[in-house]
Symmetry: D2
């Protein structure tokens, strides 16, 4: 499918950067789940542009739930969440619409939609369309927390700067979920922020790697072969603009390991089977083993930069020089974090519903 | 879905390592496509164990097409391909079935299937189940070649050893597709082979990274957001056992790049829009841009090693020491190559059919 | 899936009778299709309550397209159409919410959604939710007409009264599509209307049968076995509330026919293969044969009647007598017509896109 | 999808009448379900040609399970069931292959598959392909019975002859499931059989209506709007060749009823909510209400008849007279019964798995 994802729980996405409204429909969620508007807004806050390292486009980003919620709880029927695009500038895009921005979907959109797509601000390909994903994700993140499942991500690496790894999952995740700039180590945070500011000053941008951890997920979840837990998570994550790589556990580092190092030994602990290490990121054979799920996602540098770039004019078919104006984030990774968490929640909720039925989220923990 | 993948063209997978037969059903392929049994067998040959670095289980791996092909051509109806499991040893698995092999799906299969799964030789999770994927993939690889689309992969990296990159796509791909050990540089090939042999001697195993290139793919293919080209490829690739990471273009290296380095400048060349570099791996916004698709897949070290490993006995719930016998590949990456190529072909054929209809493969190039 | 339908073109539905907004998302439609708001409104008019035989709830039913349309044409990205529920009465439902209305989904909604569903006015099960289906359908009906494909339905039968059959497809379809009360024969129309009025006077309701015809559909469309043209049409039609039967061609009358009567003889006419009769409704083996598609849909009598009915109080679990107040249609079949036409258009557009690709609707006829 | 059906439990179908093997893959079934080969064979027996009213093609129809079953129980992984086409006559089809048989898919297959389809004996469209559906259905019918869910069908009507209705569901269903000729009333059975024999003597064929009942289904099952219980059942039933109509409860008879007659009054009985009548066939708003599901399916007269028929030669594009030889059933409805029961079981098992998770069939009743 195109803008629909999921098996038992589905998300349908719609909207353009400069269209009237954007939104998502969440279908299949169990009835009786409390809707915490404050939490949804808090999550949306994490996606918002921040200070020097962010675009100045300020949307109120007020989520508007128009269906599927009754007396503060999910009804079990589709939840449609809308956002007004109140802050779309009346800027004239007609001058630049034929100049294909490198790193963006301008050119491929023309190849696919024959020039009928809304080109203003990236149209349907704009990062703005992740807003409803965050809102939908917030509902599921909260519902999963009520079942003892917690999701947390930090910027593991940005340029040469690395954050410390997770130490205590519970407290680290709690800390991250309250941080606008999701870095565990204070000094690393400062350095990363500095790197972003200096990239901004150069009219350039930087990328980075997010590390995500999920705790409390039951074992036995995943639908191999094709709907393995890794397949489904990667499917959703690669839908996020700017994501160009996903790896589980040791990921690409496995290429440097021996089998004796890579395998996670099992042991019995408190009457339960656990692994002594977690190189495989909590997933064996595409199915959760009860250990924390752990994966990394690379976010490429923001495609919109101020430096002059070579490109083509798609109408005249001539080479031209493009200079992008307006304001753009020198790094979207701080804001991408909550999108990744949201996509993770969508996949987990769906996989749990496939495994345990549509009511699982409603049940007692 | 579980063992079904695809939208317009689907693959259904079945079988266990020591069951009677394994196979796949390929549905939705255009009618009139020639079936080249020799090519299918050649592809299967690439998946077979080889010499010192491979298990001694030798299957004849004779593909048996029982439907969907008439007078040597596809009919347009489902193609079922079967393989006999002729060489399943009568070995007694009952002694070891309760010892969970680290890095394998033994434990997660018990958590999911409540102990009813066929545990012999990894059952449905065995790498052997990739055999029908290769057969199905071969049909599609050949059909795509007839449309000018070529797929090739090499071992980019194994431990510390690196292959040279692609130089001339056409000749490099042709060369790789005829090589059992898919490495471009002769010296790198020898060193990688040496590393695998020495790992075998230590009773250990190694992993590696495959780099895959697809040339000739039309622009405008991909169904954002959720069925982006990256999403669909990653979905399929993460279904392959031992794959733990997938990245497109520069992938995780994007974390070290500036936007000005990461963006691929456009230019007009021979009246066509191309990019000067291809850091984004031929995909922008989830849609192909007409440049070669390029991605890397990490294959973890073979989970079956001879070194003693700590594990649990799932019946007694006691810690035990496991020593795996029999023969196993110290590296499965040489054999994983054709599985990755096959999965790639499955995704591309499906995405092309979604975009251009069920007859596209049949049409004139 | 639940509120998502389709393969290449999908429709996602959301909303409740007394919720804030209702709507649908149409995804996968070709770019460049002109949006004729006047036509959409005209189609919505056909769904609206009419005079004596309809409920007095009057919604303005103004469609609000918030995405996927740019400069009056489809962009190829998801179209979200919204409707405000402006006219939801402040009526107190709390008195009757525990009385399960016979023939409605009140009780089954409680069994499925555990009492969390929005019970006001039937909630998500209200016929009102067909409004966005009609809007989405209108876009597709118009696009199909531009490809020479026409859909028309009439009330074939209501109680003992029968309409005449189709004579000249083109003119009959054109006539029906301009009629609020879709009956071909004037006298039959008057009698049916009289029957509905007299049912209303008795506080009762009546059902009927719609006959639908599609002309201009290419041959070779349908994806047997499971996505046969009949399967997909029936799937969509049985999603419409009150539809309890669907039959193709002679349908249930086939039980009274001999094979020699039922088979449609082929002949060559103007260099084309056609059938002399069309007992099979234009479909053989689940695939269109190029003749008009013809099917009948039965619509049960409106479940909301004024006569006293026996029922239970779901809270007290005691038998009670229910008397429904407010105003309701004594027959919904005149309004169901455009919903059936819309569902038909959705299925056809999807099946054509699966067969011929996402751009088919855009192409030259 | 094409030859794949279902959401949580899927069936993939393959094979041609005169191909090597036909079969199906059942995926998603709970692990630990006992496989009763005797029961599967008994069900297959119900599909076999019988005496004077059936074709003489006798297949041994021996089901061959090659995966997904271990130590007599389902493993939870895909079950592939194969059947050899041992009895394919070496008859020369080349003479008649260009003569399109009226009522068959010969012509539409050419329109869809461009003449590449296997035309021998109807190829993939042959009724023979229902054999694996019956085998897969048998596994699920048995598993559903273990959960207290029973399915039974009888020929309600054949030409002018009518069977009596269901009286005691339990004993009637048990009786039918042991009858080759599924008619409850002995005299009606004789008359129907007589009608079929006399149609055979005339070189003609007859159709009929099957009535199906399902008891023991829990309430709250069904996924409105689009995967309503009626939508899913109809989708599957219309995949069966020769099925041209499906109606639930009173079905087309609703057109002659008043709302006061059509609505099923609720009452409390033994502490449970039940309906006093069951005109709606156990389904309200697309969701089961706990009453027996009841529907009717019309099976058109066998398309293969001996009488001369007008048709076209698709190669010469000239009108010709066709006379079909070989032996064919004058009525397939007695054999279609078990196919309808099987499809019903597939849909119910899938819908129950979507609602309650993949393990539901395994659980305690």
């Amino acid at each position: 499918m195109k803008n629909v994802f999921g098996n038992n729980i589905t998300v349908t996405l719609f909207g353009e950067s400069h269209g009237e409204q954007i939104g998502a429909v969440l279908d299949g969620i169990a009835p009786g789940i409390e809707i915490d508007m404050e939490f949804i807004c808090k999550q949306l806050e994490l996606r918002k542009p921040q200070g020097k390292i962010s675009t100045q486009r300020v949307e109120t980003d007020e989520p508007h739930i128009v269906s599927g919620v009754f007396e503060g709880k999910t009804t079990g029927t589709p939840i449609c969440i809308l956002f007004e695009n109140s802050n779309t500038k009346s800027k004239d895009y007609s001058k630049t619409k034929n100049l294909m921005r490198p790193g963006h979907a301008d050119f491929t959109a023309i190849e696919k939609y024959h020039g009928f797509a809304d080109y203003r601000g990236g149209g349907h390909f704009s990062g703005r369309i992740t807003t409803p994903i965050v809102a939908v994700g917030a509902i599921l993140i909260k519902a999963l927390q009520n079942k003892g499942i917690y999701i947390g991500s930090h910027i593991q690496k940005c340029g040469p700067i690395k954050d410390r790894g997770f130490e205590d999952y519970a407290s680290d995740i709690a800390e991250l979920n309250n941080k606008i700039f999701p870095v565990l180590d204070k000094k690393a945070a400062e350095e990363m922020h500095g790197l972003m500011v200096s990239a901004a000053e150069e009219g350039d941008s930087v990328g980075g790697v997010l590390e995500t951890v999920v705790t409390g997920i039951p074992s036995g979840v995943g639908e191999p072969w094709f709907d393995s837990m890794e397949s489904m998570l990667a499917h959703a994550l690669f839908s996020v603009p700017a994501v160009k790589g996903v790896e589980f556990g040791e990921g690409f580092h496995f290429a440097d390991m021996k089998g004796s190092e890579a395998n996670d030994a099992f042991e019995v602990k408190d009457g339960k089977v656990v692994t002594k290490t977690n190189h495989n990121g909590g997933i064996n054979g595409g199915i959760t083993n009860g250990m924390p799920i752990r994966f990394q996602t690379v976010v490429k540098p923001t495609a919109s930069i101020y430096k002059k770039q070579e490109t083509v004019n798609i109408e005249t078919m001539e080479n031209e020089i493009l200079q992008i104006h307006g304001r753009h984030d020198p790094a979207i990774i701080p804001r991408a974090r909550v999108v990744v968490d949201s996509m993770t929640a969508i996949v987990l909720a769906d996989m749990l519903a496939v495994r345990f039925g549509t009511d699982w989220l409603l049940g007692e923990n």
